[in-house]
């Protein structure tokens, strides 16, 4: 072998790479080759540059880095011979892309080659330019390309036309230079030139309104004539595909006519006849014919309305849809989707066929068909369509169930004519594909169930039945457990029986069985288990006969390794064991969940403009978010019908709810003492004047049951160990006492709503660890001034609160100033219980009263 050759021949290298048995072997061969090529590059070897670049391209295709060969492309392009230039341009297109700076270095060589006397070299340069030119190159070389549109050889003209497309897409301002030369290309006979010229013309029309106007006026008739000649042309072997002369040219002509006809009645008129001819005369037994029909239908749908033609087009799609070829059915579904905007009625006629396509064995077709069905659903057909889809859910592929379930749920939610239907359908979906149902969907179902008071019994029985056959669909289990907890009594006594139902015999113990199996089921996740625990707590009061058994189940979980479950079972066990007298009040049925606010919150998470007490509850700064468990809300929720706590349980309840507050102090420079008392009563909302409507304020302060977020908020209140101390009556070990009272406590945002922020800074006097001095700063986040600003705070009995006068009673807008308020809190249970505080802030905006309330649970520990 020649001592100067750089290694092996291309063919040998490919063989060596193919012979490699492992990736490591392949890497070794490639490394060796690359080293040899690098060496050759460094020596500026000319004889094998050509071969080395070919090797690099192969290596590149295997996915190895080859950037070191980029300059070799430029050198080859700059060589005089055709073979070097050919491989050089190929390397340029393969190894580089338009974003690499190296590309700028090649502009000059390309320019020279575009002016080369050898037309094949001109062709190479045009091809490379068309494939990778950047905006800068487009500007530099546009005049050359434009000139080449009139080159004597058609093969150069066609390449120049495609190159021009790239240029005007990169730099649309250059479009107008190409209008005149393109008009000439449209009159050519050479198919390659015609095809590329028409394509260029189409793109010009898209980037330039002037071009569109020009071609519409000057060329529409000519193009219609060209298409007519083509359609009627005799057999031409060179261009024939399946009996059609040049379908590619057909399609490009139809595309350009579409652009010209869109939005112009005259141009549309001019092409009606030929479109009708193509639509009726094209053979549809081969792909080529169908491709032309596809394009023709698109054009008919896009140009100005001609009723007759559109009927023709929709009929073609109908034929496509019933075709046995999957490809044709796929495009039919696609096009029907676009046709809906043109003629929804006509598309509806194919509904049953489309529905069949949802069940196709081909995933691509199923997906298209499902999208289309979704668009076809309306009030009048929702029931049969949903039935079909739900039935199919049973047998569908696992990987399609997610999409299908989401669409079905969305259809049910959007078009449900009545609640019972909604519940029925959702239960079916949960039974078939509960694991694919998104959280917000079953949350919404719970809200609907809660609102359908006449269907509570029906629903809980249906869920109980469903759970007998299907226990592995997580969200079905959750909804069932929630309903059994809430409406377990209706399950057992068959109350509210509807005509359509068969009575079932369920004992109290059967109901508990179901919940117990949900909590014991291995696959249940934390949310499900937590919900089951709550359901058990509720049932312990609804089913006195099972109370002992429920207690046992709860006790079993006291040792759970999952903190959340352990804590819940400890708490619930305490309620069951020590607080029998208030248990029934605690586990009352949940109040009806507000559909509107729930739906609204789902639709948008925008904060309310004027913050109501509900709103603030949501925005209370909370600790770590706990898994959602809506039913717990109930525990905290005191509705009107709660019996007054009896004396022995009273303390506990009040402590639990944190409402039996020590005589609270209030501040506020403009507040009359008398009026303040009323406000406080309202704030405390227990034992208040019966004339006062505390039914609103109580649940609001404690927890707004209107959606999930407040539920979580109140859950935190309950679940945070700090707040649970009272409930647990001290059988949780007290947190370790701090060794000394470190002076530094982090500041907190004690309260924040859309319009107001309150931050607290803490300090302590050395030697008096029980007392904390809090400096509160109010900032107005809205753009309106707050006047008559009053801040009130209340604390539980074990705390003493002293409020100093506030620094003012008017709060400038947009944070331009603050009100400061200092508070002194003495904690008699210092080291055992953390601070907790409820606050109420009243002010006026434009003379209107605004009231904000909240509870502060995020005090630093050990205050």
């Amino acid at each position: 072998m020649n001592p100067f050759s750089s290694g092996t021949r291309l063919r040998d290298m490919i063989r060596a790479i193919r012979a490699c048995k492992t990736a490591a072997e392949e890497r070794a061969v490639v490394r060796k080759e690359c080293a040899a090529i690098r060496a050759a590059i460094n020596e500026n070897d000319q004889d094998y540059r050509h071969r080395n670049l070919a090797k690099l391209m192969f290596i590149h295709m295997l996915g190895y880095p080859t950037h070191f060969g980029q300059m070799e492309c430029l050198k080859l392009i700059a060589s005089p011979g055709f073979p070097e230039k050919r491989i050089g341009y190929l390397g340029l297109m393969l190894l580089l892309d338009e974003r690499q700076e190296v590309l700028m270095l090649v502009t000059n060589s390309v320019k020279q080659d575009l002016n080369h006397t050898n037309q094949y070299i001109v062709g190479l340069a045009l091809c490379a330019l068309g494939n990778i030119c950047s905006a800068e190159m487009a500007r530099d070389l546009a005049p050359e390309v434009e000139r080449l549109l009139q080159f004597r050889d058609p093969n150069i003209r066609k390449k120049a036309a495609l190159c021009s497309i790239r240029i005007i897409k990169k730099v649309p301002d250059l479009a107008e230079n190409f209008i005149n030369p393109v008009a000439a290309l449209l009159k050519e006979k050479h198919h390659g030139v015609l095809i590329t010229g028409i394509q260029l013309c189409t793109d010009l029309c898209k980037v330039s309104p002037e071009a569109l106007e020009y071609f519409r006026k000057k060329c529409t008739d000519g193009l219609v004539r060209t298409l007519r000649d083509l359609v009627n042309s005799p057999y031409a072997p060179e261009y024939d595909i399946a009996g059609i002369t040049d379908p590619f040219l057909h399609i490009r002509l139809l595309k350009l006519l579409r652009v010209l006809g869109q939005g112009d009645a005259d141009a549309s008129d001019a092409m009606n006849d030929i479109l009708a001819q193509v639509a009726t005369k094209t053979e549809s037994n081969k792909n080529a014919g169908n491709a032309i029909l596809y394009e023709c239908v698109e054009t008919i749908m896009s140009i100005e309305d001609n009723g007759g033609l559109r009927v023709l087009a929709i009929n073609i799609l109908g034929r496509f849809l019933s075709n046995r070829d999957n490809n044709i059915r796929y495009v039919a579904l696609n096009m029907l989707m676009r046709a809906i905007t043109v003629d929804a009625q006509a598309v509806q006629r194919h509904r049953s066929t489309i529905l069949e396509c949802v069940k196709d064995s081909d995933a691509s077709i199923r997906k298209r068909a499902l999208e289309l069905v979704y668009l076809l659903v309306n009030e009048s057909n929702v029931k049969p369509l949903t039935k079909e889809l739900v039935d199919y859910l049973e047998v569908s592929d696992q990987d399609f169930k997610g999409d299908l379930t989401a669409k079905i749920c969305s259809i049910i939610e959007k078009f449900s004519p009545e609640k019972i239907w909604y519940i029925d359908q959702m239960l079916k979906v949960l039974t078939e594909a509960g694991n694919f149902v998104k959280d917000e969907v079953w949350h919404a179902l719970v809200v609907v169930i809660s609102n359908a008071s006449d269907l509570h019994g029906y629903t809980v029985r249906a869920l109980f039945r469903a759970l007998q056959t299907t226990a592995e669909q997580e969200s079905l289990v959750r909804v069932a457990v929630w309903c059994i907890g809430e409406y377990g009594d209706l399950l057992v006594n068959n109350a509210g029986m509807l005509n359509v139902e068969d009575p079932i015999t369920v004992t109290e113990s059967d109901a508990v069985d179901v919940v117990e199996s949900a909590i014991k089921r291995h696959a249940s996740d934390l949310t499900t288990k937590s919900m089951a625990l709550i359901a058990l707590l509720k049932l312990s009061s609804r089913f006195p006969s099972c109370s002992g058994r429920i207690k046992d189940i709860v006790v079993q979980h006291k040792g759970s390794l999952v903190l959340e479950l352990q804590q819940r079972s400890l708490e619930f066990n305490s309620i069951i064991e020590k607080h029998q007298n208030i248990r029934s009040a605690l586990v009352e049925r949940m109040p009806v969940l507000d559909e509107a606010s729930f739906g609204g919150r789902r639709a948008s998470s925008l904060p309310n403009t004027v913050s109501t007490s509900n709103g603030t509850a949501v925005k209370l700064p909370n600790g770590v978010a706990k898994p959602s468990a809506a039913p717990l809300v109930d525990l905290l929720d005191l509705s009107d019908d709660v019996p007054a706590p009896s004396s022995s349980g009273g303390d506990f309840l009040q402590d639990l709810l944190g409402v039996d507050l020590a005589p609270a102090t209030q501040s506020g420079t403009s507040q009359a003492p008398k009026a303040g008392t009323d406000v406080l009563l309202d704030l405390l909302s227990i034992g208040s004047n019966p004339a006062q409507d505390n039914s609103v304020s109580t649940p609001d302060i404690l927890s707004s049951a209107q959606d999930h977020k407040p539920a979580i908020a109140s859950l935190d209140v309950l679940a945070a160990p700090s707040n649970m101390m009272d409930l647990l009556d001290g059988f949780t070990p007290a947190p370790p006492k701090p060794a000394n009272n470190g002076p530094a406590y982090p500041s907190i945002v004690a309260f924040e709503s859309s319009s107001l922020r309150l931050t607290f800074n803490f300090s302590k006097q050395p030697g008096n660890p029980q007392t904390t001095t809090i400096s509160g700063t109010f900032t107005n986040l809205s753009s309106n001034v707050f006047t008559d600003f009053v801040f009130q705070a209340a604390v539980p009995k074990f705390l003493q609160l002293h409020l100093d006068p506030a620094s003012g009673n008017s709060l400038p807008a947009s944070g331009n100033g603050t009100i400061t308020q200092s508070l002194k809190v003495t904690n008699s249970q210092h080291g055992k219980k953390p601070l907790v505080m409820r606050l109420r802030i009243a002010y006026k905006v434009d003379g209107k009263d605004v009231l904000e309330e909240g509870q502060i649970n995020n005090f630093p520990r050990d205050l």
Partner: protein, 169 residues
């Protein structure tokens, strides 16, 4: 890889063997090297796993990939969602027929050892992601002209080499 790609008929062409080996890649829209390998990996996973008798289209990242299998090779072209899939099938077939005519009953080995020629052929079918020539005869004629120019240059080089060798003997 979410691109705001310029509207092209064809964004890229891929030739993948049944074993997942890449035999040809041509990118008409700008994809970085990293994106390219990701695209190839993802698409070969999707396309190679599709059963027979299914339609030749898959939806992928807001685009549509039209593929067709010839023996052990999958020819894939990525197009815009609203474009004519059926025509792209014909474009693939057109390309394959030209390969077949050029190599004379083409097989995968031809495309491996003469991969550069496969690229030259593709460059006569597509430029800038747009269709260039519907006449197979024209393309074959052009290709053979190119090849003969390369041959001529080679012969010239050898004859010059021989002359030099003669003189220096």
């Amino acid at each position: 890889i979410v691109h705001k790609l310029i509207k092209l008929q064809i964004h890229f062409v891929l030739l993948i063997s049944r074993q997942g080996k890449v035999r040809l890649t041509k990118w008409y829209s700008p994809y970085s090297q990293k994106e390219r390998s990701k695209v190839i990996r993802e698409l070969s996973g999707i396309v190679l796993n599709r059963g027979p008798k299914l339609c030749n289209f898959v939806e992928w990242r807001g685009h549509r990939v039209v593929y067709r299998r010839y023996a052990g090779l999958y020819f894939c072209m990525c197009i815009d969602e609203a474009d004519n899939e059926l025509e792209v099938l014909d474009i693939i077939h057109h390309f394959v027929e030209i390969l077949d005519r050029y190599f004379g009953s083409v097989c995968e080995l031809d495309l491996i050892f003469n991969f550069h020629k496969a690229y030259y052929i593709l460059d006569e079918v597509l430029i800038a992601g747009e269709f260039q020539e519907s006449s197979k005869r024209t393309i074959i004629r052009l290709l053979s002209t190119h090849d003969s120019m390369v041959e001529m240059a080679k012969e010239e080089a050898t004859s010059i080499g021989n002359m030099i060798a003669q003189v220096t003997k």
